[in-house]
């Protein structure tokens, strides 16, 4: 019978190797595919002059959040309550918060 | 030679439920003998054995083991002495449930840092000697009372102690098993070990194995 601590240490070793493999090796394997996509994205960004990621498409100010103006998160009226889920996650763009 | 002088033990000192378990014990116990402490329950036998075995400290008084004073040792040294000098056989066997016979036997040797192989081989040979090797991988609670008793003995011997302390070892055994146990004790004496037994079982103190009887009552030797 295998000693319990040996079995556990083997488990740790395997888990550690899997983790290290994922963290250090996997990105390298992915590199070629990823780079190809990235080049395309960068190309498109340059060509069209895009400024934002297409992550939240629910409203103007979340789709192009760096282009939004100070009041748009207030839905055109300063007393309006936020009602988009992503509105609770995003900050107004950096340059508007500048003091 | 184990010498005791003026051993007193008070539980819950200064409180309303204060209880004086030992009221001044002076005693000399010879090594390589079987000494049996007899007396009714509550007479202080168990408390005395636990003090002798470095499990607890007396409230006052001193103990010398082969000339070395062992009473004022801080806990970590008391534990070391307990581990290396004494082997304990408890009344309820006190085996750890859910783990195997073999592991239970090996437990006292874990903190010593001995090689695993060495401990294992020693445990196996002890279990073989006591005739329960066939059950070594079973969890202890699957064993009968007599078998558990033998596991407890094997565990007490794993660190090759020079002194064996047994508290009411025959309490849960029928006559035949108890007799077997006494035979095992006789064997230990032949090997030169010191055995201290607390018992109020006539089978024990009337047995020829017992070299010396020490009777106790109300925390004193009578």
């Amino acid at each position: 019978m295998v000693r319990k601590s040996t079995a556990y240490l083997i488990f740790l070793l395997v888990a550690g190797l899997v983790m290290a493999g994922l963290i250090f090796m996997h990105p390298r394997l992915q590199m070629v595919d990823y780079e190809r996509g990235l080049v395309k994205r960068q190309h498109l960004v340059r060509e069209l002059g895009l400024t934002d990621l297409c992550l939240f498409t629910e409203a103007r100010y979340t789709r192009h959040l760096s282009q939004a103006d100070l009041h748009s998160p207030f839905q055109d009226y300063p007393m309006a309550l936020e009602h988009f889920p992503s509105g609770s996650l995003v900050l107004p763009p950096e340059h508007l918060l500048k003091r | 030679m184990i010498q005791l002088s003026g051993i007193k033990k008070t539980f819950n000192g200064g409180k309303s439920n204060e209880f004086k378990a030992l009221r001044g014990i002076d005693l000399e116990v010879a090594l390589n003998e079987v000494s049996v402490f007899i007396g009714p329950s509550g007479s202080g036998k168990t408390t005395l054995l636990s003090i002798l075995g470095c499990m607890s400290r007396p409230t006052s008084g001193r103990i010398w083991l082969s000339g070395r004073e062992i009473t004022s040792l801080p806990e970590r040294f008391a534990a070391e002495t307990r581990r290396e000098t004494f082997g304990f056989i408890f009344q309820n066997y006190n085996l750890i449930k859910g783990i195997s016979v073999l592991e239970n036997t090996m437990l006292p040797a874990y903190p010593t840092g001995m090689k695993y192989r060495v401990i294992r081989d020693r445990a196996v040979s002890l279990l073989e000697k006591l005739g329960i090797m066939s059950k070594s991988e079973e969890p202890v609670e699957h064993l009968s009372g007599g078998e558990q008793q033998r596991v407890a003995i094997a565990r007490a011997l794993i660190n090759t102690p020079s002194i064996i302390i047994a508290d009411e070892p025959t309490a849960h055994l029928d006559t035949e098993l108890a007799q077997g146990l006494l035979d095992i004790f006789a064997g230990f004496r032949k090997e030169g070990k010191t055995i201290l037994i607390a018992s109020h079982d006539a089978l024990v103190f009337e047995s020829p194995v017992a070299d010396r009887l020490i009777s106790m009552r109300d925390g004193k030797i009578v």
Binding site: K98 | G13, S72, E75
Partner: protein, 332 residues
């Protein structure tokens, strides 16, 4: 105030560490008040049991202090792009007045924690707890340091504002800068290296004495402390130059970056290993007095001394390596 996972982790971690250090300190002071090793009373037994708790807490704290030190530097490194002008950790730490003092306190608490554990370990080897009083009094200092470190760190993170103009390592550790960082950068690299090697060789020489004859651990401890400080100065003034292969880049933090293969981590870890065990060797010298320890301490000192010498040696190897295997020559 910036809120990122690392900041949350550091602030909450430090808070927990302080609470536990304080708890251990209160327990320790309670122990001191009623301590009487001669007594076999139940109270004395309870007190002796509490010493286990304190040792346990501080051994865990040492580990966490090390982690938090590394995370703190790594986080400063990671945040630098939020601040205008910051190129590495040096800039992020300079955003407000609390950054550097937090770092210094973190290093000191880590070293103190290590030395305390060494003292504690030697005390536990004796039958009669001869060091219990000095040891627990040292905890007052240690806990105060941990508490201050937590406060400084909180102030630092609270005071962070993105977009603040800061200076990068190029200016902080530049030969033109006034103040201590500039002074260190201005030191002549060649002479600093000579001082560094002299200190190192002296330490090793005394270390060999300690190993062979058992004499001079106090001197060794002192030298280890001096060598640690000199080494830190040497890193800024010259060792960094060889790693960056730039005549004016003196930053002690850029060494942590990917571009330099994270060499900063082993470099500093071995330096602190050498420093802590070395100072520990000296710290327990004053404790030889009690009879119960007089035989144990020299053996322990030899072991610590060995670790310390190994730490310094590996540090020196890492530091010397680029000087030998590079074509770069700074203008002295």
């Amino acid at each position: 105030m910036l809120l990122n996972p690392a900041i949350i982790a550091l602030i909450s971690g430090s808070l927990l560490v302080s609470i536990f250090a304080f708890y251990a300190l209160v327990t320790a002071l309670g122990i001191l008040r009623h301590w009487d090793i001669q007594s076999g009373s139940e109270r004395q037994l309870a007190l002796e049991r509490k010493t286990y708790l304190i040792s346990t807490i501080f051994s865990y704290l040492l580990g966490f202090e090390l982690f938090s030190l590394i995370l703190f530097i790594y986080n400063a490194q990671h945040m630098h792009d939020l601040f205008v002008g910051a190129m590495c950790a040096a800039g992020s730490l300079n955003v407000n007045n609390w950054g550097y003092i937090t770092l210094v306190f973190k290093i000191i608490t880590f070293v103190l924690c290590g030395v305390w554990l060494i003292v504690n370990h030697s005390d536990n080897r004796a039958h009669d707890y001869p060091l219990i009083r000095p040891k627990y009094k040292l905890l007052i200092l240690l806990t105060a340091m941990i508490g201050l470190e937590t406060i400084f760190q909180t102030c630092y993170f609270m005071g962070l504002e993105a977009d603040v103009m800061t200076s990068c390592c190029g200016t902080i550790f530049s030969e033109e800068t006034q103040g201590i960082t500039g002074d260190m950068a201005r030191l002549p690299p060649f002479r600093t290296m000579i001082v560094f090697y002299v200190a190192l060789i002296l330490t090793l020489r005394v270390g060999i004495d300690v190993l062979v004859t058992g004499r001079g651990p106090a001197v060794f401890g002192l030298l280890a402390g001096v060598t640690t400080v000199v080494s830190l100065v040497a890193v800024i003034s010259s060792i960094s130059l060889y790693y960056y292969e730039l005549p004016t880049h003196h930053c002690p933090f850029c060494l942590f970056q990917n571009d330099y293969h994270y060499i900063g981590y082993p470099l500093y870890i071995f330096l602190f290993l050498g420093g802590i065990t070395g100072m520990g060797t000296g710290a327990i010298e004053g404790l030889k007095g009690p009879a119960s320890l007089s035989r144990l301490i020299p053996a322990l000192q030899r072991r610590l001394c060995l670790f310390s010498m190994a730490g310094f040696l590996i540090f020196a190897l890492i530091a010397t390596y680029p000087m030998i295997f590079t074509d770069f020559v700074p203008d002295f």
